[in-house]
Symmetry: C2
Subunit: 282 residues, 2 copies
């Protein structure tokens, strides 16, 4: 079965629209774009459009490719401290000369719907955001929320299952592998140095990929009936592609996300879900 990410996302956005309608003068979301990456700009436009669809203003702040760490940090500190700004997202990747984590740390935890500042990562990895649902910072990294939404929609229980996570990046591999392990799955993280990835991945129940390499996951690398969730994203000649060879792998998987239209729209909705939660709990 092919997962309809758009449908899951629309359900979340509809609920959020109702929540936002209850908030008098909702504060805005600041979105930061550095340099001129076409993919980043497009993603940000999608987030802006989704925000507006639920009644949230999204203000985009653009900076030139060559901005320095110090200058950017200073500007972001100013932008984020406005009392009418309830959250800030910084579109990744940043130009190579910038220190990504230092820049992300400009976002205070209570205004960090992406859960990417060091403090927010600490809250997540310490397991507090999972344990204390009443906690105002009980939000999950958007990729994790996306996996969770898919598992809930299709009644998948990760506990006791085996899983392989391809990649260990900041946005997908690291948070998703941590969360899945905490849910009781036996998780194997596979990276570029792994000698025989297929040996490991073809035995597991759940495959999660967040690498950004088209056709990385081939049908001989998965088990018959596996669940395949693709967070990969890359521009190719034929358009946008995920990590999974969808045409072939989808014949073997029991459940699979397409790209586009799979995890992408849910991730956007998850960011907004976090943003609304931060407003509600401010």
């Amino acid at each position: 079965m092919v997962i309809d990410g758009k449908k899951i996302a629309d359900k979340i956005l509809n609920e959020l629209k109702n929540e936002v309608a209850k908030i008098k003068n909702p504060p805005y979301l600041a979105a930061v774009l550095v340099g001129d990456n076409t993919g980043s700009r497009r993603f940000l436009e999608l987030k802006k459009r989704a925000a507006e669809s639920i009644g949230i203003e999204c203000r985009i702040y653009e900076f030139p490719e060559k901005v320095s760490n110090g200058e950017l940090r200073k500007k972001l500190n100013q932008i984020v401290k406005a009392t009418t700004c309830a959250g800030m997202i910084i579109e990744l990747p940043l130009p190579a000369h910038l220190n990504t984590q230092v820049i992300l740390n400009a976002v205070p935890e209570e205004k960090d719907p992406d859960v990417l500042s060091q403090k927010a990562q600490g809250t997540f990895f310490a397991g507090r955001s999972l344990r204390q649902a009443q906690d105002k910072l009980a939000i999950l990294p958007p990729s994790v929320e996306t996996a969770k939404q898919i598992f809930e929609e299709y009644e998948i229980e990760p506990k006791g299952k085996t899983a392989a996570v391809f990649g260990y990046g900041l946005l997908v591999g690291k948070p998703v592998s941590h969360w899945l392990t905490g849910q009781g799955a036996a998780v194997t993280v596979i990276n570029e140095f792994t000698e025989s990835p297929a040996e490991l991945s073809k035995k597991v129940d759940i495959i999660i990929s967040g690498v950004g390499k088209p056709d990385l996951i081939k049908p001989d690398m998965i088990k018959e009936g596996a669940i395949v969730i693709d967070f990969g994203f890359a521009g190719t000649e034929k358009g946008i592609a995920g990590d999974v060879d969808f045409e072939e792998v989808s014949k073997k998987a029991s459940l699979i996300t397409p790209v586009p239209g799979g995890t992408g729209p849910i991730v956007v909705a998850a960011v907004l879900k976090n943003f609304v939660k931060l407003i509600q709990n401010a």
Copy 2:
């Protein structure tokens, strides 16, 4: 080969002794014991003795089993803020009625040699403590430093290797699996819900265990020639035991830590190494 943890620990402690000798009036380490757990008391005594052996005073603060979260947090805040106190360690486990992470968060990151506060965990999981060796908070969780010391001593390169980590606790499984993955190993975390742990563990190059269940790891669960590092610790009728059936597994492993005398002394030395680094960089 059986790893001599005492020897590795003594080497670290000797280096630290020289470092401490250069510090005028070295500040002290505060060590917190809550309740009357014999194992915890014994561990703390070992840490105190090791601290004293390198010229560091270790002051033990004891609290009754029934102390409340609020009361304990308040007292710890007072203790840790003394300018002559350069670090605080809180012996785990805490009594069940206490919120462990909230108590651990009493320790500010710059005085946290155990790397257990939420902020210190964030620094570690964000990868900053690994990337920036010049950073004053570039310290590793003691279990990670222990694995690193063993790998260095025996010239083991984790990159490209496969590993299984038993358990996903705060002290061992979570930090060690994160670190090993960052080093380029393909790491599988096995937990209590994993259906066929042996199926997974008998294929890997490196086994790390931090569960606290004697004889959990049997010889049929490991590959011939595997490296086995045991952080498990439990009191049994026959004395202190690790997670590994040492007598049998040691016949099959290429390298293995005994319990006691394996990881334990290195962990203690690693805490003090962190403490001295925090003093030097304060």
